[in-house]
Amino acid sequence: MKYSIKYFILLMLALVFTLPIAILFLLSFSQKWVFPKLLPEKLTLENWTVILGDGHVISNSFVISLSIALFVAGSATILGFVLSRYIAYHPKRRLLTFLTYFPFALSPVIFAICLKYYFIKLGLIGNLYGIVLAQLIIALPYSIIFFLSFWNQKVLDYQNLVYTLGGKQKQAFLYITLPLAKSFLVICFFQCFLISWFEYGLTSIIGYGKISTLTIHVFQFINEANIFYAALSCCLLILPPVILLWFNKRFIIQQKG
C-alpha cells in the first residue's frame, strides 16, 4: 500500500513534467479540435510544412531570435568572464556583487520601460541593435554572478604558481585559466542564450513591434486565438532547451522563473 502511493506520486510527477511538452507537440500537428473531443480530430504535418517554408514569418523570426540569442550569449559570456574576475578579487566584492544583482533581479519589462527614453534618444528603438543591447544589459549581470563562483582561491593560486615559475600573464590565461574555465564558459553561454531566447517583455518594448522574435509571435498567435500556430511556435521555442538538456542537464538550469 505504502509503495503504491509512492509509485502514484512518482507517476503524477512524471506526468506533470512530460505532459505539457506532449500536448504542445500534439496541438502543433492538429487542425481541428472541437469541444468536447479529447483528442484533435485532424492530425497533419501541414502546419509545420507551411510555417517552416521559405520566407514564412515564423521561419524568419526563428532565425532572428537565434541570431540575437547567439550574439547576446557570446558577448555576455566573454564580458561576464572578464568582469567577474575584477569583482571576485576586489576588496569591495560583496558591494559590487549586490550592485550587479540588482539589475538582474529587476523585472526586465519594468527595466525596459525605464530605459526606453534613452533607447529612443540613441535611435535604438525598433531595431536589432537596440534589442541586442537591452538583452545584453539583463544577460551580463547573470553572467558576472555566474562566474563569481569560478574565481576562487584555487584558480588564483594556480595563476600565481605560473608567475612564480616564470610564466607570463598570457601563458597563465591560455594554459591554466582557460582550460579550468572551459565548462563554466560553455554552461554560461547556453544559460545566457536561454535568457535571450525566452525574453518577451523587454523585447516587445524595445523592439516596438518592428522586430518579431519567436516569443512575440507566440503572443500574437495567442491573441488571434490561433492555438495550432501558437503551439507550433511554442514547440520551436522549447526545442533548443530540450536539445541542450539532451547534451547536458546543467546547460538549462537558471534561477529566474
Binding site: L24, L79, F102, Y118, L148, I252, G257
Partner: protein, 284 residues
C-alpha cells in the same frame, strides 16, 4: 602600468553595462514621477504621487503581486520538500534526473499558453471531465484561468519554479548530510515524524532562505503569466506599470513611472534582506 589600465577598463565596462543603465533608468523614472522631465510636466511636483496614492489601485496591486508570489512559492516549497524527503536520491540519476529539468525548458509565455489550454473552460481538463461524465457542457466547468482565485497564474508559477526547488533541496539534502542527521536522530529514539519536522525541514528551509527571497523577487516581476492568465483587475505591478506607460493617456505616464520606482525600491529592500541572510558570498 598594465594592471591599473586593466582595472580602469574593467570598472568602466562594468559601469557602462550594469550600473549606468540601472541608475539612468531609475533616475529617469524618479524624475518623471516628480514632474522634472516629460512632455506634460512643468516642474517639481508631488501631484503624481498624491494621485497614485489617492486610489487603492497601487496598494492592491502590490498586495496582489506579493500574494501570487507567496502562494505559488509556498505550494512549490511544500511539494519540493515532500518529494525530496520521500525520494532523496531519485533526482540524482535515472529518468527523473532528466524529467525534473523539463519545465526549465519552458519560457513563461509558453507555460502560460499551455496552462490556458489545459485549464480553460474548453481546455483539456474540461474535456476530460466531460468524457468522465462529470460535466455536461462547457459552462458547467469552473473558471480556472482569468479567474477570481488566480488558480491559472498560481499553477503556472508553481510549475515553472518546481524543478528549481526540487533540485535545490535534493542538493542541500546531500550537502547538509541530512541522512546522517536522520540516522543519529533515530538512534537517539526520535520518531520519523520528529526527524522530518524537527530536523530535516528546518535545516532545508534555513539553508534555502536566501534563494527563497531571491525567487520571491523574481516572481514579483513576473509579467507574461499574469498578462495572459490574470483578470483585468487587480493587476500585478509589472502589468499595471506597463499599462499606465504604454496606453494613450499621457496623464497616466508619471504614475506608471512612480509604480516602477515603488517596485524597484521593493526589490532593493528584499535583495538587501537576502544578502543579509546569506552569510556566504551570494552567487547563482
Amino acid at each position: 602600468m598594465f594592471k591599473p589600465l586593466n582595472k580602469t577598463l574593467n570598472f568602466s565596462i562594468l559601469m557602462l553595462f550594469t550600473l549606468l543603465p540601472l541608475l539612468a533608468g531609475l533616475g529617469y523614472a524618479i524624475a518623471y514621477s516628480f514632474g522634472l522631465v516629460g512632455v506634460l510636466n512643468k516642474g517639481f511636483t508631488l501631484e503624481n504621487w498624491k494621485i497614485l496614492f489617492s486610489t487603492s489601485e497601487v496598494y492592491i496591486s502590490v498586495l496582489y503581486t506579493s500574494w501570487l508570489a507567496f502562494a505559488s512559492l509556498s505550494i512549490c516549497i511544500f511539494i519540493s520538500l515532500a518529494v525530496v524527503l520521500a525520494f532523496p536520491k531519485k533526482f540524482k540519476s535515472g529518468i527523473f534526473s532528466y524529467l525534473v529539468y523539463m519545465p526549465l525548458a519552458f519560457p513563461s509565455i509558453v507555460a502560460a499558453f499551455f496552462f490556458f489550454q489545459f485549464l480553460s473552460n474548453a481546455g483539456i481538463l474540461a474535456r476530460l471531465c466531460h468524457q468522465l461524465g462529470i460535466i455536461n457542457q462547457i459552462s458547467d466547468f469552473p473558471n480556472l484561468v482569468n479567474d477570481s482565485y488566480h488558480i491559472g497564474i498560481i499553477s503556472t508559477q508553481t510549475f515553472l519554479s518546481l524543478p528549481f526547488f526540487i533540485l535545490l533541496y535534493a542538493s542541500l539534502y546531500q550537502a547538509e548530510k541530512l541522512e546522517d542527521y536522520q540516522k543519529l536522530a533515530y538512534a537517539l529514539g526520535a520518531s520519523k515524524k520528529q526527524t522530518i519536522f524537527k530536523i530535516s525541514i528546518p535545516i532545508l528551509l534555513k539553508r534555502s532562505l536566501p534563494s527563497i527571497i531571491i525567487y520571491f523577487i523574481f516572481k514579483l516581476g513576473s509579467y507574461e503569466v499574469p498578462l495572459l492568465l490574470g483578470k483585468s483587475s487587480p493587476e500585478t505591478i509589472s502589468v499595471l506599470a506597463v499599462r499606465k506607460l504604454q496606453k494613450f493617456n499621457l496623464l497616466d505616464i508619471p504614475q506608471g513611472y512612480a509604480i516602477a520606482v515603488i517596485y524597484a525600491f521593493l526589490v532593493l529592500l528584499l535583495l538587501f534582506i537576502a544578502f543579509k541572510k546569506s552569510k556566504h558570498q551570494y552567487e547563482v
